[in-house]
Each structure stands twice: as C-alpha cells, then as structure tokens.
Symmetry: D5
Subunit: 147 residues, 10 copies
C-alpha cells in the first residue's frame, strides 16, 4: 500500500457516495483548496484530520497513517498537461510567464513568490455576460540575498 492507493480510494469513495469537497473541508476545518489537495495526495494530515477523513471515506488504520506521511508531490501524469482545464493554467504560465516575472521583480526586486508559504482561493464571480472563475493567490515574497 502507498499514498496513491489511499488517494484512489478517496476518489472512488467520493464518487460512490456523492460527497462534495466543500463538505469535506468543513469537517476538516480548513479551506476547500488545502483540503482537496490533501485528499488528492499533495498535503500531509495531522492525526485529527486523518481521523476525520477516515470517517468520511471509510479508511483503515493503515490508510490513516499514510495520510500523515509527507507525500511525493506532483499531481499530473505528463509535463505538459493534456486536460483542457489544467492546460489553460499551463498556458497562462507560458503566455504570461515573463510578464509575471518582470512585474514581481519591478515591485520587489530579485526573488520569488513562494509556492510553499502560499494560499489559493477559488470562487464564483457572478457576471451578467457569464459567470467567471475568480482565483486569489497569495505567496510570500522571498528575496535572493547576497552572501
């Protein structure tokens, strides 16, 4: 058994039971973004969170323990994603990558926006011409220092 087996069981159980990620998140007590990433094998649970997930998804003790082990991260089967929804995000990085780089450096100097000290928030933005997906990302700026 490995973490991937637990992820697959969670997904299959979610489909079989008709569970919603938003509801899982409420019971776990964290955002829907972090909680979904946890369930999809990208984050690490505390013992309490693992217990909550075990109840929701009928996990065994061994499966609970795997949720508390740091996983090998990366959720995509190919370097360039084929799924159209995920590809659009890859395309944004590709088309706007150098723009993002220029503007962060202009504001902050040399360094990066952290993908670790980071949060993500996805919501529906009502719009008469068609509702929109609104995404807010917040990542700590980490400067390159001289030494």
């Amino acid at each position: 058994m490995n973490r991937n087996d637990v992820t697959e069981k969670i997904i299959a159980t979610k489909v079989a039971k008709g569970i919603k990620w938003a509801d899982v998140a409420k019971r776990v007590g964290q955002s829907k973004e972090w909680t979904t990433a946890l369930c999809l094998g990208q984050m690490t649970a505390t013992a309490e969170q693992a217990q909550v997930l075990a109840e929701i998804f009928d996990l065994t003790d061994e499966e609970k323990r795997w949720l508390q082990v740091v996983p090998y991260k990366g959720s995509l089967p190919t370097a360039v994603p084929t799924d159209p929804l995920i590809y659009r995000w890859y395309e944004i990085v590709n088309v706007y990558g150098t723009t993002i780089k220029e503007l962060i450096h202009e504001e902050f100097g040399d360094g990066i926006m952290s993908a670790i000290d980071f949060s993500l928030d996805i919501t529906r933005e009502p719009d008469p011409k068609g509702d929109r997906v609104r995404v807010v990302m917040s990542g700590k700026f980490l400067p390159y220092k001289q030494y």
Copy 2:
C-alpha cells in the same frame, strides 16, 4: 525583422533608459499586466498604442507595424521553465492542478476557466512577517455543451 526583434529592442531600450513597466502602462492606458505582455511579444497593439510605445522605445515605423500583428504566443524557452520565479508557477499547476480541476468542476460542472477572456492583477500585500505577492485572476467559465 520579426516580432521577436521588436521585443528584444523594447527590453534593451527599457534597460538602457531605466523605464518602468508601470509607467509604460499608464501612458498606454491599460493595466500593467496586459501592457507588459504586449511589450514582451504576447499581445497585439492598436495603432494608437503602437504609436505610444514607439515614442517611449524609439521604434521605427516597421517596428510599430509589427506590434499590430498578432504574435505567435508563448514566452518560455523550455516546456518546464528553469527560472525559479516562473517555475514556482509551474509547480503550483503541478501540485494543485487536480485540486483546481476538482473545485472548478464542483462549482460549475464540466468546462474550463478561459485563459483568453481573462485578466491578471499582481500587487504587493503588506504583511508584518514579510510582504506577499497577491495575484488575482479572473477567467470566464466556459461550459462544455452537448450537441
């Protein structure tokens, strides 16, 4: 001459003259994100915008015309970007890709968040533990339809 030559001239002139993207954007009259993407060869200018950029960056008439031609988009030299700042964005897509997909589908059903009917806003988020980069993205949800 091609669009890439114009992009390189703009960047070199920006360095030589010490111009800021935010100031270019003000004179162009659009956001700093769209304007920078335009200057970096990813967007298409109107005749008026091309004229403004020509004045800022000392462009010739032919260079101005290239700014009004739709470019072959894509700003990165490799499929997986090596630059640490841009890589962090690729990493977000890789680690959170399936999470983003699950949550958008849970809210909207099958479809995508458009990368065309799309806007991007990057700002500084003051924080006593270290300022953060705040990014707001807004993309129209486009549903897959049955036919």
Copy 3:
C-alpha cells in the same frame, strides 16, 4: 475503479455485442461525435444519459456514477500520435497550423477558436474518384481583450 475502467468496459462490451456508435448516439439523443467522446472517457453524462448507457453496456450503479464525474481529458498515449489515422490530423495541425492562425486572425483579429464551445461533424462525402471524409468544425471565436 476509475473512469478509465468504465471506458475499457464500454469498448469491450461494444466489441462483444457488435454495437455501433451511431446507434448509441440515437438512444442517448445527441450527435454521434459527442456521444462517442462521452463513451471514450472525454465528456460528462447527465443521470439520464448514464442510465441509457448503463442499459446498452450493462453498467453497474458505480460505473454509472463515474460517467457523471468530469474526467481527466486527453485520449492519446503519446504527445505525437502513432496511429496513422490520428497522425494525419496531427500532420494537418503541423503543416497548416500557421496558415490557420493567419487566416483566423485576418478575419477576426487576435483571439482563438474555442475547443470548448465547439462542435464536430464527420460524414461521408460521395465522390466518383473515391469517397471522402468531410469534417465540419464550428468553434466560437473568443477575442483577446485588453484590460
């Protein structure tokens, strides 16, 4: 169990029973193109459609539920397809890609032809020198906007 298992079962049952996609589409009530893409794991069914497919392909309740979950799309095992029929389409994109880009931009300006708000129709075109495959594609034009 995952969506791929359902796809494989559908294909195997189709072979075993000698079912035709065109007949499946009639019972589902949508085009043969969309219905086949659904059966091959690329589209999402409504509850009613899943019920129809369950009857045709002897699917279980769990399999029916998987048909109603948005799949991770992409139907090809390699980035450049090896199958000669599918490769010809890749070749058309490769040989005519820049031509298509030029002509759509000349007519519509900067933007794309949507692959989401999109339909596909494949028919036989009788021809004394050998019948032809006629394909009609219709995708909404989505303009890049300035912001």
Copy 4:
C-alpha cells in the same frame, strides 16, 4: 539562401505593406488556405504563381525559384504548439482523436482520411451569441488493403 528565408521575407513584406492573404489568393487564383500555406513555406508554386508572388512581395529571381522547390514541411517550432490558437487544434486532436478514429472506421472500415488529397476551408459563421469559426475539411478516404 533557403526557403525559410523566402518565407520570412514574405511575412515581413506583408507586414510592411499591409497586404491581406485573401488578396494574395485572389491574384494567385487559388483558395486563401492553399495560398497562405504556400506563402508560409508549406506548398510548392508553379512558375506562374511564383511570378505573381514575386510581384506582390518584391522577390528576386532566386527567391522565385525557391518557391518552386518542394519544401521540408512542418510549420511549428515545438511538437506541442505553445500558441493558444494553434494549441486548441492540438487539443481537439488530443480530446477527440479516438472519437474521430472510431467514427471514420465505423463508416469506412480500416484506413485513413488523407492529409494530402485534402482541402481546408475557414469561414466566419455569424451567430447572435458571438460569431463562430467554421472549418470544413475534406480528405479522401484511403483504405488499408490486404496483399
């Protein structure tokens, strides 16, 4: 000098003079799709066509000769195209590839749709919800034969 130099000159001259592909096609006497592909280095001109293009784009005699030489075809710089417009076509092949294969085989049996004995037609399809790109492709069906 090679064909690629001629292609670059044609594109640069087109930008400098503000020429439209549709007008070039009229003077060449072929469809705008074939003519554009010719100008972009994918097709081969007759002596008469080369002469017409030479007049439009101020080509030298040597450049005219290159237009009459069969080119090494393929218009994209990477196997998976980064440009969003062209990528959408790649995505259609990826998402619908197996569907297209199934339906052509259901209608015609084993074989392919030719990409050589082939024509392409791109037009604007007016639509109150937003105009659409309509593409008609016609390729001869070529059956695999037993031997």
Copy 5:
C-alpha cells in the same frame, strides 16, 4: 480484454507451438508481411481470416471479434527504437530521409509515397559474400493538389 491481449496470446501460442509466420500466411491466404502485421495487432481481419487465426492460435469468440476491430496502430514502445534490427530501419530513414525526399520529388513532384496503399515484401537474396535481406516496397504516389 483488448487487442493487445489478443496479440500477446498469439505470440505466446506461436512460441509454445512452434508455429511459423509463413505457414500462418498460407492458411490466411495473404502475404506473410500483411498476415504478420495482422497477428501483431496492426491490421484488421475479415470474419473468415479471424476464424482461421482462431483455429491456429486457439482463440475464443471474443478474441476473434477483436481481430476484426480496427486497432490503434504503432508497434514500438519508444519513439526511437532500441532494438538493433528495427533501429537500422530508423537509421535508414534518418540518414537517407532527405535523399528519398529529393528523389521522389524529382520524379513525381510534390506529394508523398503512401504508407496505406502500400505493400512490403521481404526475401532472402543469396550472395556468395553473405546472404542479403531484400526488401521491396511499393506505395502509391499521392500528389499534393492545389485548391
């Protein structure tokens, strides 16, 4: 079950029973080249041919049906083949590729040699300095046409 399972069973049965491809071809009534390609999962059988193969390789009814379904073609596990015999053919394409292109175009003009309306014949060519493999390929020339 899929076509690949049938291919593997045919190969394993061939090894277990010591069958020769040439003998299979005689019973099928086609060339050894086409018949072997059929058995290796690249071609499509008629009902009669499937029946013959079923008798030779002890196939079930379901396996027979799979032989009559058009397969996803491509017989190599990597884009550049590692097997020395097959690599030599890849090398011929690599070293002589542009030569073949030049000579076919010099004789026929722009177009291709079909790999569909195509036959292959492999025989032993006795030679006192060491016997040779003689390969005759015949493919219909398909011209690019203007439209």
Copy 6:
C-alpha cells in the same frame, strides 16, 4: 566552414541552376541514391568525385576537401520527422517494425539487416490506378554470433 555549409551551398546552387540529381549522379558515375546522399552531407567523396561536384556546383578547394571528410551523419532536424513524405517512412517503421523483425528472424535467425553494406533504389512503377513509388533495399544480413 563545415560540411553543412557545403551542403547548403550545393542545394542553393542546384536551385539557382536548375540541376537534377539524376544528372549529377551520371557525371559522378554512381547511383542517384548514393550521389544525392553524398550531396546532402551523408556520404564521403573520393578526390575525383569531389572534383566533379566542384565543377557542377562551383565549389572552392576548401569545399572540395570537406566533401572528402567523413561527415557526422543524420539528415533530420527532429527525432520524429515532421515532413509528410519522410514521416510516411517513419510510420512504416512504426507500424511494420515488429513485423519486419519477426520475418527477418524467421528467415535468418538472430541478427540484423545492415544499413551500411546497403543499397537503395527508388523508381517509378507505372500503374493505371495511379503510378507508384517502388523502392528496393538490399542490406547484408549480419548474424549475432556467440563468443
């Protein structure tokens, strides 16, 4: 200067002067296949052959010397060729690769068909349904030996 420069000069001169490969071969005194491969930078000339080519293509003494140096072989810009004519050959290797392997081993045992002690002959095969390209390849069989 390197061999590639000589190849490009030969091709450009051929286009400028309207020379045919078959005529070059006659003057060189070898087959059109080997001679074209030599001119395209894949084979090595004798001093006499280099002299003949120098006369045909107006080569300098240094260029003549490069023709007599063994070149770094490989004529294609990508591992999977994009040009449709050359791709068809790659497709033949891909679709028929395991078939070719099986049949050569059935006839000769373990070993390869040499791509070095090898000849290639391309001719027009008249056919009322459309002329065909006939290719005859002859390569020495080289057995793997035990040691």
Copy 7:
C-alpha cells in the same frame, strides 16, 4: 544586447586577462560562490557591484545596467547536464533524492529547504588519500502550512 552577451564578455575577458573568481569576489565584497553566480548571469548586482565588475572586465555603461537587471535564471543547456562535473551533482539528486526528502521531513515535517534563502560554500578538504571537495549548503526550512 542582453544579459547573456554580458556573461560571455565577462568569461572571455576572464580568460584573456587570466583573472580568478576568488579575486573578483574579494573586490566585490561577497563570497566567491555568489559573485561567480552573478558573473555567470544568475544573480543581480547593485550599482556599486556593477561598477566594480565594469572596472575588472572593461564593461560599458549599458553592460553595467544589464548586471543590475534580474536575469532569466538557469545555467545549463540541457535538462540532464552532459558535463561530467555537473552531472555528478545531478546524479546525487537522482540517487539520494528520496533519501534527502525522507530525512528533511523526519526532522522538520512537511516543507522544503529553500533554494532562495540559501548559501553555498565550496572548499578544499585536505586528505592524505587525495584531497576532497567539501560543500556546505544552508537553506532556510520553509514549512507547508494549512490554510
């Protein structure tokens, strides 16, 4: 002109003048590791540092400005480095990658060792059996947080 041109000029001048990185670092006033990375186009100089480098390497005013612009980072021409010295480091990541991951997580929990808030120190470690390269790396631990 771009940053790469400045890097090439620095390297060529270093070779021509026989300068040592350690001496450059002393004049710049930072470690030899950071200073070399700066000279090789991976870090960003202050105005004072750029002035020092300009004196050492005879840089123009424009070249000095490029040193103060944040570069597109990544110093290797291929994803897997071919140079034996650099490959050994890649090999360490490949062979010890999962080990490093396990031990950092065992000590710190889920998170990463920063490559931005990071320093590197390379020294000679005398050893009677052959001197050794001693490398000390120090990177801030950045924990994944729940949100």
Copy 8:
C-alpha cells in the same frame, strides 16, 4: 520479486510501525543518510546489515538476499523531479551548476567531485529567523589525467 518490492515493503512497514530512519541507522551502525539510501533501494547491504533490517522490517530470507544485491540506482520517476523539496535541489544544480564547475576547476584544475567516494550529512541549523537545513557534502576530487 525484485529490489523494488523490498523497498516498497520497507516503506510500508515503516509507515505501519511508525519507525524513524535515525533509529534504523543506529541499529545498522552507519549514518542516517547512507542507511536511508540503502532502505530506499540505492545502496547494498552486508549480510549483517540485511539481518538487522530483516528484524526491523520483518523481511523474509529472500528479501534479505535482495538487499545484498547491487541495485539499479536512480530514485526519481522523472528526469526533472516534480516534488518541490527534491526540485529545489535540481534547481540548485541548474542555477549554480556553472558556478560550482568554475570554482572547483579554479581550485583543483580539470576533474570532478566524486559522487561515489562521497558522503552526505543533513542536520538542523537553529536560527532565530527560522531554522535552516544544513547539508555537508564531501566528495573526493578526481583529476582528469593525460595519457
């Protein structure tokens, strides 16, 4: 059974029993770095070490023997690692690769730092601004010699 099966069993047992690598290392009598690499399938055990691991992880005699066989090394599933912690090490090689090369050559001349006669030590470095990961690597310098 192969070495990979043993690695997976060790990891699963470690998770199930809540074992720490540091404790395994103490019982094995080697560093935690080497011992973890051994357990993760990268190093080779003596009979005594295999016996110790068999007791800790409930291994069978056959599994013990596999630990004493030299493994096929390489612990990462992709050439560019997707896991953020391991990627940071890849990034260090990418950003600092040429710097490391320059400085080792400046100190030692042409040669490499061995990844075989090599040791690795990972510790926590307390820091009021956030603890750091300190890594000490020591590799024998191996000079290229002339011959």
Copy 9:
C-alpha cells in the same frame, strides 16, 4: 508469458540460489559476457543452451522455448541511464564520441565498428593504486560502399 518474465525469473532465481554469472557461463560454454546478456534477455539460445539454463534456473518447457526466440533488445528503462555505473559508459560515449569517430575514420575511412559482429571482454586489472576494470571490445569494421 513473454521473454521479460523469463529474465525476471532468472534474476530472482540467481538471487535466491546465490548463483554466479561466471559459473553459468562455464556450464553454457560461452563467454561470461555473452551468457549474461543471454540471461538478461538480449541474446538467443540454442536448444542445448536453453536446456542448460533450464537446469540451473528451474525453467519450464515454455520458458525454455522463450530463450530460443529472438528478443526485442534494449536493456535500459530510460534513454539516458540513471544508474551510475551504466551512466559512466554513456558519458564515455558523450565525451569521447566524436574522438572515437575521428580516429576510426582516420584509420579505416568511412564506415562503422559493428555492434553485431562484436565481442566484449571485462576483466580485473590489478593496480597498486587501486584495481582497474579492463574492457576489450572487438567489432568488425564495416565500410560504407558506393553503389
């Protein structure tokens, strides 16, 4: 069952029984290099050799037959090998590849060193500064001929 299954059984049995390749080779009556390559799935056995291996590794009749079938060759899971020992050989090809080419051509003219009519011999070379691996390779020179 396929050849790979036989290879895995041979390796597992070797580990379980503590067999040495050199002893296998003695019983087979060929060199240790060829015999090991045979056992690892790269060469083809005679009936007698298969019988010897069957006795050593407890093979079934079907497994024996697989040893006599020509395998699909290539023993590495990735194009660039990750295992350090095998990588060093890849590195030799990479660093010395053009040198080897120049020297063989200088001595023999255009052609190759055969990898089929080839033998390999690996021995220990005692050396007071540390024993060495001595490898002798002998491959027939095969000249390119004109035709």
Copy 10:
C-alpha cells in the same frame, strides 16, 4: 570567442591542411585518443601543449588561452546520437548495459568504473575475414563505501 570557436577552427584547419590526428598526438606527446579529445574541446591543455597546437593550427594567443580553460564537456548534439558510428556505441551501452553492470559488480562489488581515471586505446586488429576495430578501455574501479 569561446572554446567551441577554437574547436571549429582546429577542425577546419585540419581539413584545409590535411593534418592527421596521429601526427598531432606525436607532437603533443600524448596518446592519439587524449589528444583528439583535447582538440575536439573535451580536455584541457597545459601551456606547452597549447603552444604546440597553436603552431600546428595557427592559433592566436587568445585561442591558446581557451585551450587551457576547462571546457563544458559533451560532444554530441542529441541525447541519442544519430551518427551511425557513434550510435553503435550507444547501442552497445543499451544492449549490454545491464550485462556490464552485473559482471563488474560480480567481480568488484558495488561501485563504478571511472570515466575520469580512464584511458582509451583504439587500434586496427587485422583479420582475414575483414579487419576489426579493437578498443581497450581501462577505468579505475571506485567502490561505494559505507559511512
């Protein structure tokens, strides 16, 4: 100017003057293998050796200095070499890679054959059935040690 420019000048001068590597090696006073690798940009010269090469190849003082700088090694343009002579060596690594690994480990235990403390010798081996290329490689065995 960089090392690659020097390599290209050496090769071009060698062709123009008809120099042999064996003669260069004699004047340099090292083996033809090491000397050729030096001339092809893979090794580092002493001042005296650089002076000898400068005389042979008419090098400038700056070019001489580049020969004394450690180069970025790797002589092949692609990861899998296309040149048939060099490919045969890649094929040997591919077909015999696991065999070589097994036999070196059987003789020496876990470790590698060094590609740094290494020598290469290529000679003609007369043979009545056709002369052979004989290659002797000698690399120090470097054991993995426990720590």
